[in-house]
Symmetry: D2
Subunit: 296 residues, 4 copies
Amino acid sequence: MVDFYFFLNFTNMKKITILIHCKDQSGIIAAVTNFIASIGGNIVYIDQHVDQEQEVFFMRLEGEFEKASFNTSDFKIQFQQKIADLFNMSWELHTAAYLPKMALFVSKYEHCLYDILGRYKSGELTLEIPLIVSNHLDLKPIADSFGIPFFHVPVSKDNKSEAEAKHLALLSEHAIDFIVLARYMQIIPEGFINQYPHKIINIHHSFLPAFVGAKPYHSAYKRGVKIIGATSHYVTVELDAGPIIEQDVTRVSHTHSISDLVSKGRDLEKIVLSTGIKLHLDRKVMVYNNKTVIFS
Amino acid sequence: MVDFYFFLNFTNMKKITILIHCKDQSGIIAAVTNFIASIGGNIVYIDQHVDQEQEVFFMRLEGEFEKASFNTSDFKIQFQQKIADLFNMSWELHTAAYLPKMALFVSKYEHCLYDILGRYKSGELTLEIPLIVSNHLDLKPIADSFGIPFFHVPVSKDNKSEAEAKHLALLSEHAIDFIVLARYMQIIPEGFINQYPHKIINIHHSFLPAFVGAKPYHSAYKRGVKIIGATSHYVTVELDAGPIIEQDVTRVSHTHSISDLVSKGRDLEKIVLSTGIKLHLDRKVMVYNNKTVIFS
Amino acid sequence: MVDFYFFLNFTNMKKITILIHCKDQSGIIAAVTNFIASIGGNIVYIDQHVDQEQEVFFMRLEGEFEKASFNTSDFKIQFQQKIADLFNMSWELHTAAYLPKMALFVSKYEHCLYDILGRYKSGELTLEIPLIVSNHLDLKPIADSFGIPFFHVPVSKDNKSEAEAKHLALLSEHAIDFIVLARYMQIIPEGFINQYPHKIINIHHSFLPAFVGAKPYHSAYKRGVKIIGATSHYVTVELDAGPIIEQDVTRVSHTHSISDLVSKGRDLEKIVLSTGIKLHLDRKVMVYNNKTVIFS
Amino acid sequence: MVDFYFFLNFTNMKKITILIHCKDQSGIIAAVTNFIASIGGNIVYIDQHVDQEQEVFFMRLEGEFEKASFNTSDFKIQFQQKIADLFNMSWELHTAAYLPKMALFVSKYEHCLYDILGRYKSGELTLEIPLIVSNHLDLKPIADSFGIPFFHVPVSKDNKSEAEAKHLALLSEHAIDFIVLARYMQIIPEGFINQYPHKIINIHHSFLPAFVGAKPYHSAYKRGVKIIGATSHYVTVELDAGPIIEQDVTRVSHTHSISDLVSKGRDLEKIVLSTGIKLHLDRKVMVYNNKTVIFS
């Protein structure tokens, strides 16, 4: 990994990603692409989406600049003045050099934790995992075997606000960018959510909006569905109702018991959660109106 | 078709299908298979299922007998006395010779109608379609072009019981075995449902239990799901809550408008409904506790 | 349908689609979008792809112009001079008004024919079908019932060049834009293919490149695969080796006989072929290096 | 785990699984089920399959006996004399108590190894992994972190037979029941294969029979397929041509580079290999004529 980044530093190209949304108007694409070209950039990827119903425009653009000629603060000032102000845009700039910091919250189920840590260790996820937080001690040995600091923060009816304070302190201390609830099984308090808007990714073990809440596999079994699913979504204040990032499903039949559904569902949960993490990491998700635009 | 059945009549084997369910007990499989063997039958297929939670046993068996040695009424009497009474079974016997009679109920959407009639004409569905019933006249030309009698029974707030009476009269007159609602878009009255228990198949254009009721594609769009589905199920008194026969899904994205969902959904509806019809036709569906056992 | 087009004629916007490919270079996107903006157009959709290995750039753009201010020939001249010559582009312009003319070639299997005609009649395919061509008479009644002219052109070892001449004459006479082989089961001669490059769509009943050639379901059965597929592709001189437009698959098991595979495959073939037709129709397919770029 | 088996030992029921195949004949099912009933057993699962073309009968049966009344050797003798000899059966008896011993062969890719070890540690795979064997040292740290003995057996052109001898000695020494090649990337010699017939499971990173041999993702990219796959199969002497246990696929598009295919393929490989392992473990696979029967 070190060698790889060392090498990247010695290319003379700077790669940037821009995410834009604003009211749909004529001429946005031309204005943005023309601006990039005018300051010597090359567009290597562009994708755009218009929500026709809401009349909102979304764009994701990847560009390359010669390092010598690119200055991040200058770019920000100029883009704001010449483009963003003109179209009343909300926009973000990301540069490829930064490795996002992800916190993992877990409880007692280990399958998503093993899956994420395996992907992390094999270089599939280009991020840092400064800490794992849990309300139980059960998964500490796994964190230890992968060499990741583990923090035990018990949560009970009586210590909820104290636990929240500890959580927020840990996240702040480790400069965490986003949080993944890898079957954490606890409801995140509103104050916590508001500090990390669209930055907490949960995996729900059903095909939302079917089977919201606890024990979805039991409900799926009872209803006799022929397909079960899993959903990764951003956490919002309303339970299991946040913007959906990714979903996947698998066939089941009358031969499957509840524990078979749980077992088959584990594989779905792993894939759907890690896909959600990767999309977030690659800045391919934009949220609007409690829905996501997922760029390719 | 005629030649085919002519040929079948000249084989000297009689093919039967038996469906059984009863409280789970020791020795059922041995008793049934031993009985079939004892009267000279050969079992060509056997599948069984035990609902461990409810302690219910289900079995589907296909057997062959030499025609000369098989008498349907004798078989029924003997099986009842020697086996069914012993285990307190509910059971059905079906013989391959009979072509079930299916009524099609449609409204204004033609895609499922075209699909079913295409399959019917090409010999994929071994049944008879004595009539098509609709509350509108729009699809009459399609019925005509396929040479199937079309009955127009308008339904309004004021004539509901009159319409129901007409429906039931038509079904009775044509000796209909089961009814398929091919996007019929009208609620079937309780009295009608009770006359055809688990014999009315509906296609619902969502992945049930998500998006029950009207306009599921609109709801799916609003929720921002990444996968849409369709469900074929037996109609029961509670809306869209009957035993699920088959479901299927397809991926969608933020780029799809509501009308794209409607369009993609049409293909799902066609496949899921025709699969449901075929499973029902092949006597592969057993209903218990508002769920289905689907034999392979 | 008439009313709908009547209405369209009275909007004052002209919708165009441009497809571009050329060697990958800096500044293409900015140049194109800037050009469209400079002549008063609004870009409603843009998607681009770069084949990094081959260094080829592909773009699909949909734009809208006020009718009063848009002239097709002027646009073509200006775009060629100001943009296409600059980047040495290959490009095409399509206007939404034109309804493409599709010829259907069939043999004895009716499932794809029924499927396409059902979609056509219900307005799902916005095209014209001036004729159906077949080497057999079996499917003539279907063509008749849908009111489409049917031409019987027998093909044998001895009359191949005569048949080809008849085919080409029919296609020319009816000003056919593209041809769909709906399980036509005959090899198309090289001369024919060369007159319709990337304009003949075939459905092959396997997951290519597995099981090229005749009887793929038999081969799939023999190999014991757990999934079967279908592939729609443009016909090229090498059998079943042309650019793939769409593929889909379905699960099978040891319980399925060859005829079960054939039956399950029919549904795949219908969906995969009609998806291929729709992508071609919507100008969403570009061919390069015997592969396709499929825009969303 | 210990507690669980401890508990099992204290139930008074003995669970057995029988796999049978023989020429298809009348009366097999009745004879077998009657035999089980006659010695006091209860059949909890039965599934059968007839290969109509080859006229071969397959059966999988799970039964329960009171421990006090069941003796394995007696059962074997009686079943052989009273049933198997009568129908000239090949058959196997498995008892639930035994934990199979699996050897893992790996090379440099870690994703399947992480996946299998994660499932193993979380109790999803009820087996023992006495050793991991590799021709490289790269993955030793993973084996160490999971506490599993790692044996480094380098393989080169010059030491092939020596390496084979070492492999066979290790397997014998650890009483290995079956071997999993988790992206081992070396061809297994014929002598080795013959010692473990249908007991070596490989994962091939394509949808077989497409893209046999090396670099299937490169070939898939070059052919422009829209779906890629993975296949788990028993190793036979002909490369990538053994009986297929499980396959799965995922959609790809022109936007995916070869390294994207590799990355998407990893998730397929993990699921397809672990499914293959579980089916083998549960005695749900029977091999005949280079194909598998997979019981549900």
